[in-house]
């Protein structure tokens, strides 16, 4: 008969032997992680009104395929499960629950849309599932105190608006500002960011604020209204299609304000060219990434890496699409996080490393823009540089500013 002490000793010995295995020790405990694979999930609007952003999910997947072809991370392949939520929050909740409870993914990565991310944030935080690098610039997603499992990535809209406001105050303190904004989280965040930085003292500078719906055919009427208000500074907080319309209409009706456009719509190929390059001369933006169609980056090694990637892993895709550059950058950031985790891919460790990025530079971000996170700073990119369009390219000027 085996005595109890022998049993205990045997168990201890077995346990020690098992944990002393040369393989990654925590593989068994971490959800979504096996010896050969890390399973991650996301929701994307592949259908519905925001479907133009679906390409981000596709580029994410292509990037991970590239990583897998190169051997994966620490011997594990990344398996991205990307589901359609049609930009509908209830659908997003359903899909996220499926990913977490049925697919048992390790974490949620780069889900798109403020409404969708708002809807799933509580659930993910309650269940301690990392909600990493959400694809939205809404400022509410960098709040480690209340939502320690949620983190954004791109410069948030308020930061950019603040940079614009500061520039206006410094260069044209008597400006009469007219702002065109999209009637959703993106546009409103902008509007509020601008007004907050201007402050009560300068609140009178904003002489007209006009919004538009994504479902509207044009913003021509809005631009005319802004012109009629006597504004001499035009802030365009609009997505590419509408930004192009705004540039064009302003020119066509003979209005020549000082123009600031959000970096969401700075694409030369997708916005300025359709509007008419000559109609956008002098416009300013806050830049943090390299723009795919800007002649300045034609021979840039970083962008060439991106172009090679696109040619090989996303053949036939639109290479003027700024979303594809964005997705490349976010995916590269995630790979860095996973590399930093090493053997421990538990959710806690992943979150810890996400909050531990130091001076990370990417091939697709501007020189001087670095990614930094800490337990109290959940805004990975906070820096931008102002640029002015000269008819062909965005000329950077000034210093790298941090919001």
């Amino acid at each position: 008969m085996i005595s109890r002490r022998t049993m205990l000793k045997a168990s201890a010995a077995t346990a020690a032997a098992l944990t002393a295995r040369p393989w990654p020790a925590f593989a068994d405990n971490a959800t979504g992680v096996t010896d050969t694979e890390i399973k991650i999930g996301q929701t994307m609007p592949y259908s519905g009104p925001a479907s133009a952003y679906g390409v981000i999910g596709r580029v994410d997947a292509a990037y991970f395929k590239m990583i897998n072809d190169q051997g994966g991370i620490n011997g594990r392949k990344i398996n991205l499960i990307s589901l359609d939520d049609g930009y509908s929050p209830p659908k997003a909740v359903e899909q996220i629950r499926k990913l977490v409870e049925q697919e048992q993914v390790a974490f949620i990565f780069n889900s798109l849309g403020t409404p969708s991310n708002s809807a799933i944030r509580d659930y993910l935080n309650e269940n301690k599932v990392p909600q990493l690098f959400v694809a939205t610039g809404a400022s509410k997603f960098g709040d480690p105190e209340h939502y320690p499992w949620t983190m954004g990535w791109q410069p948030n809209y308020r930061t950019e608006a603040a940079i614009f406001a500061k520039h206006i105050l410094a260069n044209k303190p008597a400006a009469k500002i007219g702002i065109l904004y999209q009637n959703d989280d993106f546009g409103k965040d902008y509007l509020n960011g601008l007004k907050e930085t201007l402050g009560d003292k300068n609140a009178g500078m904003v002489v007209k604020e006009v919004s538009y719906e994504v479902s509207e055919p044009t913003v021509d009427s809005q631009v005319i209204t802004l012109q009629g208000s006597g504004a001499d500074t035009f802030v365009i907080a609009a997505t590419p299609k509408f930004a192009a319309q705004a540039f064009r209409k302003a020119y066509d009706v003979g209005w020549k304000p000082v123009e600031y456009v959000t970096n969401v719509s700075l694409s030369v190929g997708a916005v300025l060219k359709p509007a008419g390059l000559e109609k956008c001369v002098g416009a300013m933006t806050g830049d943090y990434g390299k723009e795919a169609t800007d002649p300045k980056w034609k021979d840039d090694p970083g962008m060439n890496t991106w172009r090679d990637f696109m040619a090989k892993y996303m053949p036939g895709a639109d290479t003027t699409d700024a979303n594809a550059v964005y997705a490349y950058g976010v995916s590269a950031t995630l790979v860095q996080v996973l590399k930093q985790c090493g053997a421990d891919l538990s959710r806690e460790r992943i979150m810890k490393e996400a909050a531990n990025l130091k001076d990370l530079e990417l091939p697709t971000t501007l020189p001087g823009i670095k990614i930094n996170t800490s337990p109290t700073n959940f805004y990975p990119i906070r820096s931008m540089q102002l640029a002015r369009f000269d008819g062909t390219t965005w000329e950077l000027f000034g210093d790298v500013l941090t919001g």
């Binding site: 359609d84 929050p89 209830p90 909740v93 629950r97 049925q102 409404p115 809807a119 509410k140 989280d185």
Partner: protein, 355 residues
């Protein structure tokens, strides 16, 4: 004029013959429905809660369109009103979540009743157009700036999920499921009694022969507006339940497609069929996911193709079974009944009793 080949509701639900096989079926159904949340995972229970919620919404729409002949392509508006009412009451006014249900229902009744007045003047296609416009306008109305302090604007409202009351060994998902089930049971009971009553017959009369009904003394105007209100109330309660289930509302939760799904649901389930709405609810909850899986066949680039497959399926159903699942069930039942009668008659010379 709308022309429905289905029998009136009285025929459908009136015969409660408690035959042995029938009773067994009912008991089986009860066991399945009550046991579901214990057999399934939390996520799947959540999905079935959504099915119940949709069934309530579809029942509301079916009362209006199936039984009363008024086409509404905009019932998502009432779903939204109910949803937001519940959210605002809970978040801004501190009302308990279950108390928001009757209040949301009342508010939507009012809204539906008011919309019923202009709807009186519109028939068939015109009403469809007007309600289509309503469905498109709803998200924009929800974002209207002056309402922002209440609606949370584009950011929406986050809510805490309801916990089961103390002492009940249920998970949150199971509690939600039973809450929806109880509400649904009540509302279905009311609906069944309504359609079997004098008012129910009046509704159907207005649908099929409005002028004759009017001539017979039926107060068409009052009934039509009241039914609009009632139908809106049902869908509003469903919206409130949906808010409680998801824990979040925003204008983007209530796009055009919500309204269109409801219409699809009642037609697939079968117009003027109380129980058909359950099939319709199952359809709109699960088939899009199924279409999603089917589309993977076409490869990565076909991520949006599910909707094409979904649309195609609906078209095929419209062609093959225009009376929906209820119609199919009826044909099957008739077929079985006919078979039974024939085999019975073979050994019996007496005239067949009317089934």
């Amino acid at each position: 004029m709308l022309n429905f080949e289905l029998a009136s509701p009285v025929e459908q639900t009136g015969r409660a013959a408690v035959s042995a096989p029938r009773a067994a079926l009912v008991v089986l159904a009860l066991i399945v429905i009550l046991g579901l949340p214990f057999a399934l995972s939390g996520y799947q229970t959540f999905q079935f809660s959504r099915v119940i919620i949709f069934a309530i919404a579809l029942l509301g729409l079916n009362l209006l369109t199936g039984f009363n002949g008024q086409i509404s392509l905009g019932h998502g508006a009432f779903f939204a009103i109910g949803g937001y009412a519940s959210a605002i009451l809970t978040a801004k006014l501190g009302v308990s979540y279950w108390a928001t249900l009757p209040i949301a229902g009342l508010i939507c009744f009012g809204a539906g009743f008011l919309f019923g007045f202009p709807a009186l003047r519109l028939g068939g296609l015109y009403l469809a157009l007007a309600t289509f416009a309503l469905a498109l306008a709803v998200p924009q109305l929800l974002k209207f700036k002056p309402f922002d302090p209440w609606t949370g604007g584009v950011q929406g409202i986050n809510l805490a999920k309801p916990q089961p009351p103390l002492h009940l060994p249920l998970t949150r998902d199971q509690w939600l499921y039973f809450l929806c089930l109880v509400v649904a049971a009540f509302l279905f009971w009311v609906a069944i009694n309504l359609v079997n009553s004098r008012i129910g017959r009046a509704m159907v009369a207005i649908r099929d022969h409005p002028i004759a009904a009017e001539a017979m003394g039926v107060d068409t105007a009052i009934i039509k507006t009241t039914i609009f209100g009632l139908s809106a109330a049902y869908t509003g309660v469903a919206g409130a339940l949906s808010t409680i289930a998801i824990g979040f509302v925003s204008p983007d939760s209530f796009g055009l497609f919500v309204s269109l799904s409801f219409v699809l649901g009642i037609v697939v389930g079968g117009l003027a069929s109380i129980w058909g709405v359950v099939i319709g609810a199952l359809f709109i909850e699960f088939v899009p996911n199924y279409a999603d899986q089917l589309s993977d066949v076409f490869g990565e680039s076909a991520k949006a193709l599910p909707w094409a497959i979904y649309g195609l399926m609906v078209m095929v159903i419209m062609y093959a079974a225009p009376s929906g699942a209820a119609g199919v069930a009826k044909s099957l039942a008739r077929g079985v009944e006919g078979l039974r009668r024939r085999t019975a008659n073979d050994g019996d010379r007496r005239p067949a009793k009317s089934g």
